[in-house]
């Protein structure tokens, strides 16, 4: 590359990075601003202002931030564990025997394309009758449902990479099918399981539609709390930014350290980034 080409390259690159990063940084700037610095028209105050932790104090004092945060952790962790068990078994079956000749795999993946509200209507009525509305258990079940298809498809790709000869060799050594799965296949697919687990955690962490429809107070995840700051009467920008700053931090860290796997995960394993 010529020097001129290099300059153009970096000007464009830095501009694009600015467009991407500035709004995210903006959340963190707003989180540390006093109300009169948030509601200002002075362009300098966008970046230069007096740091204050007032928003965080208000968030913790006046709103049930930590209980809601704990709900999010419990629901996403519990649903991820169950999803991994169900989808690892299924994905192995699909990858090794092509069970159902692709039709079943298509049915599985199509749940991911289901409009969320289609499942929401019947389950809302059912949950109301069973008393499952606003319970962590109820919401966890729904998260299991919407993550399983994704996890199955992603793991399918990882299982496919394991050579079948390895299993045949183990069978000659007298391993049963269950032993092969437990002792040969599972250890090999562990990195794939880790990647899948992280993605399930993130999807569940970010999920909004079901959380918003099926919880009110006790089981409310933190995304729903943050959305409630943007009301039709008043808008609590300060606590909203403070809450958002905490909630998105884990996902930003994960995105940074998983950068090699993000594209692979998002394309269901089709593109090895």
């Amino acid at each position: 590359m010529s020097t001129f080409g290099k300059i153009i390259f970096w000007v464009i690159t830095l501009f694009v990075l600015f467009i991407i990063v500035a709004p995210l940084a903006w959340i963190y700037l707003t989180a540390f601003k006093a109300p009169n610095d948030i509601f200002t028209t002075d362009v300098k105050k966008l970046v230069f202002f007096k740091f204050t932790s007032e928003n965080f104090q208000r968030l913790f004092r006046e709103f049930p931030f930590w209980p809601n945060f704990v709900n999010t952790i419990i629901i996403s962790a519990a649903s991820t564990v169950v999803v991994l068990v169900i989808s690892a078994l299924a994905a192995y079956s699909f990858a090794r025997w092509n069970t159902g000749r692709g039709h079943l795999l298509f049915t599985t993946i199509s749940t991911r394309m289901f409009p969320g509200v289609v499942a929401a209507i019947p389950f809302f009525v059912l949950y109301r009758n069973l008393g499952l509305l606003d319970t962590r258990f109820g919401l966890t079940l729904l998260h299991i449902y919407f993550n399983t298809s994704f996890a199955t498809f992603l793991l399918y790709g990882f299982f496919k990479e394991i050579p079948e000869e390895l299993e045949q060799a183990a069978m000659i050594d007298g391993y049963s099918r269950v032993d092969i799965f437990r002792k040969i296949v599972m250890p090999l697919v562990r990195p794939g399981l880790a990647v899948t687990a992280v993605f399930c955690l993130v999807w569940s962490w970010n999920e909004f539609l079901f959380s918003f429809l099926f919880t009110r107070v006790t089981a409310r995840p933190v995304t729903v709390l943050i959305s409630s700051f943007w009301g039709s009467i008043e808008v609590q920008y300060g606590p909203m930014a403070a809450g958002a700053a905490i909630v998105i931090l884990p996902t930003l860290v994960i995105a940074w350290f998983m950068q090699r796997y993000i594209i692979r995960g998002l394309t269901f394993g089709a593109v090895k980034g």
């Binding site: 590359m1 390259f9 690159t13 990075l17 467009i19 991407i20 990063v21 709004p23 995210l24 903006w26 959340i27 948030i38 509601f39 002075d42 362009v43 966008l46 068990v85 069970t99 692709g102 049915t107 749940t111 991911r112 394309m113 289901f114 409009p115 969320g116 509200v117 289609v118 499942a119 929401a120 209507i121 019947p122 809302f124 009525v125 449902y145 199955t152 049963s176 099918r177 269950v178 539609l209 918003f212 429809l213 995304t223 943050i226 959305s227 700051f229 943007w230 920008y237 909203m240 958002a244 998105i248 996902t251 995105a255 950068q259 993000i262 594209i263 998002l266 394309t267 089709a270 593109v271």
Partner: protein, 309 residues
Amino acid sequence: MKEAMTYEAAGYRLTRKPTIWETLTSERYFKWTLLIPLIVLLGIFMIYPLLYCAYYSFHQWGMRGNALYVGAQNYRQLLNDKAFLEALYRTFKVLVICIVSELLIGLGLALLWSREFRGENVVRGLALLPLLVAPLILSLLWNFMFEYDFGAVNIVLQSLGLNKIYWWSPERALYSICFITIWQWFPFATFVLVAGLRSLPKDVFEAARVDGASSWYTFRRLTLPMLSPLIMIVIVLRTMWLIRLFDPLYGTTRGGVQTELLDWIVYRTAFVYFDIGYGSTMATFSLVLTMAICAIMFRILMKALGGTK
């Protein structure tokens, strides 16, 4: 029973019947045993909602009292429902705008970033940051950034001597929502295409250069066709996600100022007006539509997957 017969036919004396565990893990049934949890789950969470919505789409019911059978009246109403048809139209508009913009921006940046350069990992790490952040939170963020008086975008515009823009006007709101979505997702298209460009065979391009092909010709005749499976993957996956766009609406206009999309109107009918009958009709319709699109898309996707492996 069947196994006992075959053992006997082979001349063995079977001393005992196989246990349930042995049957489940036998060579013949193990692949189905592995699928039991998934099939139970799909049965509950797919078949039940499907049947439920299909059933109530022929009824009038508002969550209280008994459902009243009304035949196909809900479907007739749906096809004449201006709000619903507009939501459908808007959904397709958002689909086209977002996918085309993401692909164009993505292709441009992919051509830029596909070479190896210093600081590559930092650039990629920063560019991929928005992808895993909750769409709801990003839409709340942009809602504030696009605020008329105190939003960062308008303050910056003003300091540059430009006019403030009312981003949430009925003419602009839908495009503002598209912008938020594109902003979050163009890095996805970019890095899918970067992966594609990096895996292209170098010798073909070398040969084209030796033959004196112009760079535009090489791009159009070699690069684009070779990238097409990856472009298809982006289109398919983005269609799947965009067709059910909901969170960015909740964080910004809440379906107001002419931004109502497919999922939102179903939500409003079923959960704001509690009209389960008509809501189920909409849900069934949008489900059939999505399934049809997805069946086509899935076929393309599997073909594209075969092409990249």
